[in-house]
Amino acid sequence: MKIVAYHQPRSATLAPLAAYTGRAPLVAFEREFDRLFNTAIADMFTLAPELGAGSNRFAVDLFEDKDNTYVRAELPGVDRKDINVEMVEDYLTISGSRKGFSADGKASEAVTFSRSVAIPEAVQADKVAAAYENGVLTVTLPKREEAKPRKISVEVK
């Protein structure tokens, strides 16, 4: 026979069940399983795992009107000076790094990301503008008639 110390349950140790007082306990399990599965499925299919260690893919949209081509990229929590926007021939490359966060607010290891988007129309590379607002980068690329291959670095405002 073994003697095991008995620990009086505290509210913190009873946490998951305490939230469901007055409800059937199975409902609690069901909801917890739903949450776990939904998270797992979202992780499998998501295009933009913005946060989390090692994730470096981000969602990109491409729009156009008669004068410009627009690229929008979801880059939440990135410092403006850590974003590089580069136009090389017909490709717009958005790259940079995001600092992770630990519980005490100190920055941890940085995650780098990079993505190239093929721009369908020839671009006046010297007139490309970029703006960053609410974690979304919008690059405006004015169209032009004929394309000349060259490399331009674009300043992010």
């Binding site: 913190a12 499925i41 009107d65």
Partner: protein, 132 residues
Amino acid sequence: MSLLSSIIPSLNRTQSEQAQDGSAAPTVTPRYEIKENPDAFGLEVALPGVAKEDLELTIHEGEMTIVGRRSWKKPESWTQLYRETPLADFSLTLEHDNTFDAAKVHAELRDGVLRITLPKAEAIKPHKIAVV
């Protein structure tokens, strides 16, 4: 299909049961991270494209809800060539056990990331008791 629904329990529910969960309008769950230090819990939620005035943070008894509406709408003249970002609003509901001080919660939205600091309630912090 029956195999899949036996693996994923929420597929087995009827529509009305799911609607009771409050998931009527299509929403996406944002990426989030929960951290902890001796004094507080930290919650970090990625909400790209959500402005401060479109964010709603509600702390109920045992539950916390974050709803972020996307303020940006595609201008009429723009033609969509390729799209990856979802159109649906963000919605995240997290359950908690009331172990933080709701009056001292601090939330900050910057560059599409919401950071919430939830100071731990005195009752769950470890106490050192001086022996006389």
